[in-house]
Symmetry: C2
Subunit: 224 residues, 2 copies
């Protein structure tokens, strides 16, 4: 019976995700789902890349179990941010995202970035209606992670290796990780980033801008 219920939960999520995606497409909004483990640097990556996206109009949906800290960090940049608290839930659902979207002036937005709950496992199973996924792995987490958490990387259009400034201090074989990622997600772009030092952000910025052009509803005039 449990399997049946899980199937129903996923089917209901899939329906809500399709509704979100249709809404995005009707409004010409692109949506990117940002996934990764706890403390892998998702919010810091956003803090580094969001100022580079101007004059695009970006909004952020933040998922966390507790605290509104991440949404506050994004709002401090002048970017509209909505915090979703999952009340113990280990992932965002499409329905929770739909509620968050209702609190945004979506017609005045070009790109919605959803920062998922810090968890390398469960969020990957839930389509939120996004057009693309970005998977984040900190070099401090170790280079065995693509093999251990393949689902995190499988659907990603971009895989970002964060905290590369720590590479001299940790055991992390970048070449090995990138080869492992390529086996799991052959078409994913790769970026080596140090948000602290402002390195490697060009690739992330370019990926986000590209998604925007490729989004199905992006026929509408974009700010250039």
């Amino acid at each position: 019976m449990r399997i049946e219920v899980v199937r129903k939960v996923l089917a209901r999520n899939q329906q809500a995700a399709a509704d979100n995606r249709r809404r995005f497409d009707e409004l010409g909004v692109c949506c990117v789902n940002l996934l990764g483990g706890p403390g892998c640097g998702k919010t810091t990556l956003l803090e580094a890349v969001l100022p580079r996206l101007s004059p695009l109009r970006v909004a952020v949906v933040e998922g966390d179990l507790e605290t509104t800290r991440d949404a506050e960090r994004i709002a401090a940049l002048g970017v509209p941010a909505v915090q979703v608290l999952t009340e113990g839930g280990c992932h965002l659902t499409a329905a929770a995202v739909a509620e968050a979207l209702a609190r945004l002036e979506l017609a005045a937005v070009d790109l919605v970035i959803i920062e998922n709950v810090g968890n390398p496992i469960c969020p990957a199973n839930y389509d939120l209606g996004e057009h693309a996924r970005v998977a984040v792995l900190s070099v401090a987490e170790g280079d065995d992670k693509p093999a251990k958490y393949p689902l995190l990387f499988r659907g990603a259009g971009l895989v970002v290796l964060t905290k590369c400034d720590l590479l001299p201090h940790v055991s992390f074989d970048v070449t090995r990780v990138e080869a492992a990622v390529r086996r799991i997600a052959p078409d994913a772009r790769l970026a080596r980033v140090s948000a602290l030092e402002g390195q490697g952000l060009d690739g992330v910025e370019a990926f986000l801008r590209c998604q925007l052009c490729a989004a199905p509803g992006a026929g509408r005039a974009l700010p250039s």
Copy 2:
């Protein structure tokens, strides 16, 4: 209906956990559940502390979604290790642990350490029959994590801050984190560890030895 099923799943797990705990107690075995996010350094911590526990007889149950890498690392130390692959599951269950225990010569073991799946959320909800929990947080993950993942720390008898050799290179306020942990888990012991540099392991070793003395079934003669 979903809530009802979740409740049944948790109740069934609780029953299996009680069975595990009874088995441990009958045999005078102590069991510790090691929890933390992906790449926080759980296996590396074990590699550093296990050789210090001799002549205690330790066995390790490793939980992962994929790969038997962690069990191989432990077995390389000459410590019996059983790998549980969760096939996509984001946490270990007491039933999966029971199956793993059947593959160990439990009567010849003093201490079972269960290294849970790398995930700061779901594993904390599942009692495995352990006598104590150890929560692991890497300083590379950031000092906002106790506030974000309180459940990880709430039930912990020991909280280990790992990768302290990275402190000069990351933004991590140890005092702030330790104060936050004390608010969540006032009785937890704290340890600041660098497994790489062999620092801070005394506290971890002492905690594990103490649990052994305190375990209900530990009346049996222990190797001294």
